[in-house]
Symmetry: C2
Subunit: 224 residues, 2 copies
């Protein structure tokens, strides 16, 4: 397909596509004439991933280039490529590494990894984000010991299994890696919204006194 | 305690505390002299919540005031107060409500609520964020049917039970509500970090070819 059709099918303007081509986020099309190139389904798919990263995940262009480089690096195995790609996504680091809350948080995270049976000698790019979040909980004196964090870790592990099953059902290694990166970013707001909705539903079950507390018990008729 | 001690114990500057007092985010202390007031543990606790909302959750001051108003409104039951407080936190709404992806996403979310056994006639403030996230997945043509979302919904429900158990173990209704709001905000980065770490760990188990794929199998010695 030509540039105009790629733009129409992807919903990305031709100016933006040209910018992504210049920045190396999209591979060049096949040159047909001096001024026209032909693009394929690969370009369309890659464009969706670039939009997920940049427009939804608010990933800087240089970071997106790094993520895509890892996706395409066939010299590495699948685990390494996925690790580098997802690990390149932006993450938080503690603002003040000398804060005793940060070192205490680091110990808590190590304890958590032990309980979960995850190797603590491997480096997790998201580990520093977790240390930052736990240090904030400590600083504000909210519960953040291993016991409080463990249900979150266990559920994250279950989620990872179902996520990777979903991804394994998708085509080739490159498309799987593309989907893994996109779904990491795009399912984060899904998860946070569902957690808040689940809180609302669980609160209704436990605390509501307005008559709809227990969905299995029919409301009393208005006139006895 | 006096203002200086409240500042020291909370780690919030006296200027910021005075600003929060003026904005009605903190109740006034007990007036001792024309220029001095006395503050209690309630102030310290409330200050922690205000920091969690404003400094960590990046909630605007007007929104924080609304959240705190609901926490303190003893005319409502616990479920209503929690619903209004957490529901007042910022959430996403679809950018283009006429987009067919938005109406399709709304149908998917209703189907999901049905599968989860959550009443679909109640309004979930986070529901619009979920519709937005699902519409984005649809627009970019990534999996987002009820079957893909269901594992997320089920795990969110489990998490809500353990979250509300953690909160139920905390003191009075007001302190429980304060903790519920703070933990909603402060555990979001915990959950997202752990999901990414769990992905890394699950990927290692499935795909790693660099010899540490199975932690139960010792590596071959370097010299046979």
């Amino acid at each position: 397909m030509r540039l105009a059709e790629l733009s129409e099918r992807s919903g990305v303007s031709t100016a933006t596509i040209k910018y992504y081509l210049r920045e190396g986020l999209l591979p060049p099309g096949e040159r047909i004439t001096a001024t026209q190139s032909e693009y394929g389904e690969d370009h369309l798919r890659r464009l969706r991933l670039v939009r997920a990263l940049i427009q939804v995940g608010r990933v800087p262009v240089a970071t997106a280039r790094e993520v895509l480089g890892a996706v395409d690096d066939t010299a590495l195995d699948m685990d390494e490529r996925l690790g580098i790609a997802v690990g390149s996504l932006p993450h938080q680091t503690p603002e003040d590494p000398d804060d005793p809350n940060v070192s205490a948080a680091r110990e808590t995270v190590e304890g958590l990894l032990g309980e979960l049976g995850w190797p603590s000698d491997r480096s997790y790019p998201a580990g520093e984000s977790l240390v930052t979040a736990v240090a904030t909980l400590r600083r504000l004196d909210y519960p953040c010991d291993v016991a409080s964090l463990l249900p979150y870790g266990r559920l994250a592990a279950e989620l990872a299994v179902s996520d990777l099953d979903m991804i394994a059902a998708i085509g080739t290694p490159v498309t799987q890696l593309e989907a893994a990166v996109a779904l990491t970013v795009l399912y984060e707001p899904v998860l946070l919204s569902l957690r808040r909705m689940a809180h609302a539903e669980e609160s209704r079950r436990r605390y509501s006194t307005t008559g709809d507390g227990d969905p299995d018990v029919p409301a009393e008729p208005a006139d006895g």
